[in-house]
């Protein structure tokens, strides 16, 4: 069963031109998302995951600029499309997005029913009465109790969880092919998070959509996603299935991240020494090398390329070059404190 690629990002580079200097936010990111899957993009603040999402929708604003790269969605390069085409055909229709603070994303002076209906009329060419009917249906679909009452209320009257469900209703109303969820449950309580995530999973399978879930919470990804990409300081450092990433992480950053998270497995929290680099002057070569216990001289000189180390499991790290490359052994000599893999 061959999997169809829905979204492919190739060598995406994005810079932000600020007063302090040029922030090299994305350093050549590659990503493939297959039709129908739930893909998790994980990383900490500043890793570039949200910038990646903005780039897909061509929403990278001044002072940011997409320097290089291609984003193929259903075989067409989104970065080469005109602004009008993206606005009319893609954004809000084929690709939609939900964000961390749903109440802030909703129009505060329009009641909930009007907002959803407006989206339906604009994007699906429904008549007003059709849109009103469909609005109530959608609200029922996302398990909102008393939809007739809710449509007359305003966003600020909704709780976080309900507002997020209204957003999901709106964003799924256009039957998108891709839904981007940027930290959708980070601001919600655990018990509400569970509700929203389970709802999302149900609806995605019902509408046969594909999801790009962006979060810093690896456990959320573990429970909802099939494949994961780990980002650090503007680079995609590892991609694999959830099982691979969690049980057999290759990249030292991924390993460090898992050891630092309080989870059902840990008895203590292990720090990753150092801190997230300033992207105006990022470290040379591999951006993680100053914090890496396994760093070798080559890590400081060159940027590691992405290699497939096992089936479906890729990483960008010199530790794994040896398995795949015919470079001379001299280049790999150097500081090498016994590692776990490679």
């Amino acid at each position: 069963m061959a999997k169809e690629v829905l979204l492919e990002i190739k060598n995406l580079r994005v810079n932000f031109y600020t007063y302090r200097g040029v922030v090299k936010a994305l350093n050549g990111v590659n990503l493939k998302i297959y039709q129908g899957e739930f893909f998790g993009l994980v990383g900490e603040t500043g890793c570039g995951k949200s910038v990646t999402a903005s780039a897909v929708l061509n929403l990278v604003q001044n002072p940011g600029k997409i320097e290089e790269g291609e984003i193929f969605f259903k075989e067409k390069d989104l970065l080469k499309m005109s602004k009008e085409e993206i606005r009319e055909k893609v954004r809000g229709k084929e690709i939609t997005m939900i964000m961390q603070y749903p109440i802030a994303a909703l129009n505060p002076v329009m009641n909930n029913g009007d907002q959803i209906a407006e989206a339906l009329i604009a994007n699906k060419n429904m008549s007003e009465s059709e849109a009103r009917k469909r609005t109530i249906e959608l609200l029922r679909e996302v398990n909102i109790p008393e939809p007739e009452k809710i449509i007359r209320q305003f966003p600020h009257q909704l709780s976080g969880g309900m507002a997020q469900r209204v957003m999901i209703a709106m964003m799924l109303s256009t039957e998108p092919s891709l839904l981007i969820a940027d930290e959708p449950t980070t601001a919600l309580d655990v018990s509400i998070q569970a509700q929203v995530l389970s709802l999302l999973k149900d609806l995605i399978s019902k509408h046969k959509a594909t999801v790009l879930l962006i979060t810093h919470d690896l456990s959320v990804v573990a429970e909802t996603c099939s494949r994961v990409g780990v980002m650090y300081a503007g680079d995609m450092v590892e991609v694999g299935t959830v099982d691979q990433i969690i049980n057999n992480p290759f990249h030292p950053y991924t390993q460090g991240l898992i050891k630092a998270i309080p989870s059902d497995r840990s008895k203590e929290l292990v720090e990753i020494r150092g801190s997230v680099p300033d992207l105006v002057n990022p470290p040379s070569g591999c951006r993680f090398h100053p914090r890496c216990d396994y760093a070798k001289p080559i890590c400081r000189k060159e940027k590691p390329r992405v290699l497939q180390v096992e089936k479906e499991h890729m990483t960008a790290c010199f530790l794994y070059e040896e398995r795949h490359d015919k470079r001379s052994k001299e280049e790999y000599a150097g500081e090498y404190k016994g590692g776990e893999n490679g």
Partner: protein
């Protein structure tokens, strides 16, 4: 007497609109022993933040009593300076808990000035440097402003500020929730180290159950202003008795698929603390609700196994 803090039937009702109250904390009784690392766990509206502040006399309770080392301090309008120094707090948001226009030296040294613990500027600088080093930062930060530091660094400053007064216990109000995961580990390890060094008692407020399991020794699970379950952390994790605790454990996302259990997804929203349900606060969402008794009577806290208390009619 190693009871450091005792709370007896503490209530805090905040007036809201006309004749209504936000019942943030609704009759809680607790005692914290010296050197405890006590966790207060709950979701929004649970009252854990308000409870934490009442413990250090930052908020006055509406009714009930707070005892510090046996002495009642509830009624004291303004704590005598000596007492104030003994109880400190580290806030959740490192971006708003440091004065944006003050230098790090003045932020950390503020308490020293107020309590006349140093005789001159030189002494103040030395002492502040000492504590900067203790939290893993250097004297080059003395004259910087908070906006020049990262979240993790700011939180270290907040910790230094609290500890420079040599308190007996510190309320840690979600100290790492606003920080990145990798920074969180650093800060928590720092807190553990400092606790050993200064023999501190911690009250650790968090919504992250796994974090609580790693850090705390005793824990209280709160919901809508009341304690649902409390006792030794390990015994609660191994054997959660309250349906709310059980549900919470079941829905926290887990890395290990083998540990995932059937999720008890609670229906409905967390009720508003303005009109909390009568009787047991949790009955509106409880899958194990017995019946009318849950709707009418609030269950008392009972010790079910050693050092493990629950407030639930299932155990009457």
């Amino acid at each position: 007497m190693d009871e450091l803090i005792q709370l007896k039937e503490i209530k805090k009702y905040f007036p809201w609109k006309k004749h209504k109250y936000v019942k943030a904390v609704d009759s809680v009784s607790l005692s914290i022993k010296k050197r405890d690392i006590f966790g207060l766990v709950g979701e929004s509206g649970s009252g854990k933040t308000t409870l934490g502040r009442m413990m250090i006399h930052l908020i006055d309770p509406t009714s009930g009593s707070v005892f510090y080392k046996g002495e009642e301090i509830t009624k004291i309008k303004k704590l005598e300076k000596g007492l104030r120094r003994n109880m400190q707090i580290v806030f959740q948001d490192p971006y708003s808990s440091l004065h944006p226009r003050k230098k790090i030296k003045d932020i950390i040294g503020s308490g020293l000035r107020t309590h006349n613990l140093v005789r001159n500027e030189g002494e103040l600088t030395t002492k502040v440097e000492e504590f900067l080093n203790l939290v893993g930062m250097g004297e080059e930060h003395l004259y910087r402003y908070p906006h020049e530091l990262s979240g993790g660094q700011r939180q270290r400053i907040a910790i230094a500020r609290a500890l420079i007064l040599n308190p007996e216990f510190v309320v840690l109000d979600e100290p790492t929730s606003s920080l990145d995961v990798s920074v969180q580990a650093e800060i928590l390890n720092l807190l553990k180290k400092l606790r050993e060094e200064f023999d501190l008692t911690y009250i650790f407020i968090t919504h992250d159950l796994y974090l609580a399991r790693i850090i705390t020794e005793k824990i209280a699970i709160m919901y809508l202003g009341k304690i649902m379950e409390y006792g030794d952390t390990e015994s609660i994790f191994k054997n959660p008795l309250h349906p709310y605790t059980e549900a919470l454990f079941s829905v926290i996302p887990k890395l290990d698929p083998k540990k995932r259990v059937e999720k008890i997804v609670l229906k409905g929203e967390i009720p508003s603390p303005v009109d909390p349900p009568l009787g047991c606060r949790f009955h509106t969402r409880c899958v194990k609700k017995i019946g009318e008794i849950c709707e009418k009577i609030s269950p008392p806290l009972k010790e079910i196994e050693e050092k493990h208390f629950v407030s639930c009619h299932l155990y009457d």
